[in-house]
Amino acid sequence: MPAVQETVDQVKAIDVDQYKYGFSTDIEMELAPKGLSEDIVRYISARKNEPAWMLEWRLDAYRRWLTMREPDWARVDYPQIDFQDMYYYAAPKSNPAPNSLDEIDPAILETYKKLGIPLREQEILAGIAPEKRIAVDAVFDSVSVVTTFKEELRKSGVIFCSISEALHEHPELVKQYIGSVVPTTDNFYATLNAAVFSDGSFVYIPPGVRCPMELSTYFRINEQKTGQFERTLIIADKGSYVSYLEGCTAPMRDENQLHAAVVELVALDDAEIKYSTVQNWYPGDSEGKGGIYNFVTKRGDCRGARSKISWTQVETGSAITWKYPSCILRGDESQGEFYSIAVSNGAQQVDSGTKMIHLGKNTRSRIISKGISAGRSQNTYRGLVSAHRRATNAKNFTNCDSLLIGDKCGAHTVPYIESKTASAVFEHEATTSKVSEDQMFYCMQRGLTQEEAIALIVNGFVKDVLQQLPMEFMVEAQKLIAISLEGSVG
């Protein structure tokens, strides 16, 4: 594992603060007036030239949202959010809807370059085997600034574009599927998102098509006092396959910024969606000042028989994480998977997990969750596995392990396991332990420093989940985990 060495070098190379994506880009932005009202909802919809039904859909959600209360059941603690004290729309002024890279503000291109996200197809093409290529949708604050490899994907019938574009180009698909997995009434943040979402990615894979490359969206929050509300919709038609990656970063700021996204996945008969997230929003400083509130609703609907949805997440960032990527196993013999690594350090709070809702016959699900708490952080796994009466022969296996580093942090496990079917077989196991002193001593006796030893042992602890990530992200994730744990020992 060269990553161990690389990781440690990288950790050392970072100065005072460990967050390396904390810079901000100085660029002229168009902002909606501060605050939230029906007018703002209309403003956003108008900026995007949306069809009338979309505006109505948003307004319905907004009115509904006004009657809702923020959920308080998660083990997270934060001051009341003032929803009138933020911007709901921020787009680069220069050209909010560029047709080619040449029309994009160079400052934005520079930003993505610094983040290590390739946006120029020819640069990506150079010296990379075709199967290793990744198509990127880059979302900057409220808008998608570019989507790469669109043309090439179109050849195989794959639609990959921003959701704003999809509303114009493929309104029938959007209308059919949007809100069909996460209804506008779902929960406080999802409803807010439905009212004010500004952009996000749209993917449609036609029947029988195996998407020729990895798709990805890279989310970047840049502007101050701005919430990011993106909405992603992925539809895998019968017998298709897609692997999708999501990455996120934000500048270091003293204020807390809200990110309330919605992701909907639909897998029809025999289709498979693999969704991976490397979430590295700014976590705030070690005292808990600043950082992103990451309140996200992600849900996949295995709508067709034998369909499969697999969530993999590496959560290292955000001041607060509140997210439960879930699977509705509606189709007979459908499968859901959830692989998660959640690392918390400093004053971070994580309340994350999944729901596996077995509705169809012979459905299967698997949950592997690895939580690592360090510093003064609180890290909670919260999950639901349920089998309804019809879900005969449903099977679930759940394993959630927590690792504690230091005596000021907390690790909690709150699973709900509900079975209404005798033939359903549910197995759940959870453990909590600390990094073993024996293991540390053994590694150090062989010459590894304390930090190297921790990195090695933690990488071993999360290996089962890391293996689920696409190869190129595995090494990245490994480094990220070690960086996140920097300063947690000694």
Partner: protein, 449 residues
Amino acid sequence: MNAVTPIRTPAEQALIGAFGALRDAGPAAAALESLRVDGFARFEATGLPHRRVEAWKYTDLRTMMREAKPLAGAPDASALLAAKVAVGRLPRVGGSRIVLIDGHHAPDLADGGPLPEGVSVSGLAEALVRRPELQALLAGQPATRENTAFALNNAFLTDGLLIEIAPGTAVSHALDLVFLTSDGAAKLTNARVVVIVGAGATAGLVETHLGPAGTDYQKNVVVQAIIRDGARLEHGRRQLEGSEALHLSTLEAEIGAEAHFDTLTLTSGAAVARNQLFVRFSGENARATLRGVSLLKGRQHADTTLVMDHAVPNCESRETFKHVLDGEAHGVFQGKIIVQPIAQKTDGRMMSQTIMLAEGPAMDNKPELEIFADDVACAHGCTCGELDEDLMFYLKARGIPSQEAEALLVEAFAREAIEDFGDEGLGEAVEELRAALLASVTDWMLART
């Protein structure tokens, strides 16, 4: 506490009325007055818990307790006579038998000879006058105090039993404590027993709960156990209530240094049962083993909710619960292991397993770990499914009829929770209880169809 519901259900109104009547009847036991007022205030603030109260998510008491029966008074002569017959039919497990009828101590029904040396039984109200320090104990641990069933028990606290085991005493036979609800019109029984096991003492206690079948009586029982340093308490519990009964039970235990508490509950009675355990370590190097077996059929509902609080370092707890569900029964297990920040070197392991014997039952599990200390080894496990088909086939291939094969496998399943109960403690008395519990598993299985 913010969910104040101005609309009271009939049951809530009846409970409020009953409290008023009790207060107006004058200070029957003045020493208990402040506890009653406090308990009632807590109940009044929240009302009966419902599914949106997280701790009662799966047992919506507001719906399940549609009405509150009148509070049971002391049994009259004819009730005592009938009770004597009923209690007489119940084989004793252990030594001296102590009987409570409708929550009231019935010394005349005691059996099994005089109390062993070092064991004393007294009335709670009277004891509280002599020993005001018991007040804090009766008020409950912070977690228990929040609980509505416990608050209601305090609200209607008119008396109860205090059982004390003198320090250093080794009681060779378990005390056989019988809680009987008498025949006649359905009533609400409020029962309270406090057990204090003195330092270094060893004792056993077996509770048996029973009442008339076909009557929808209600019982709210609280047992508080204080196990002082170096002491050991083996606690067995058979819940064999009548088929229509509502049974609320709270067991609170505080375990001192190097003490050991072992408890085993068999649940097979009542239409609705909620079995709560609040166990806390208050001294280091102590051990607790909490276990239970639930056998549910028809439309029975039984909820086991436990909180194991590791409040000090170096303690070990084991929680093992087995659920066997038939018909359209609904089983619930909520178990939480808390490891407080100072409780380093905690070792806690919890397991909840379910077998469903029919298509109709439902099981809800919520095993939780809440951990604030790093040097710990904690785990929980949970399984749910049918009897192993391969095993069934194997037994049938050896000529064992299906029903017997099921009984054998279920007994083996339950045995894991029962077999090492009280292993290091009381010998014979516990052996009898183990055998009785295993036999009731087999009987239950064979009587199923």
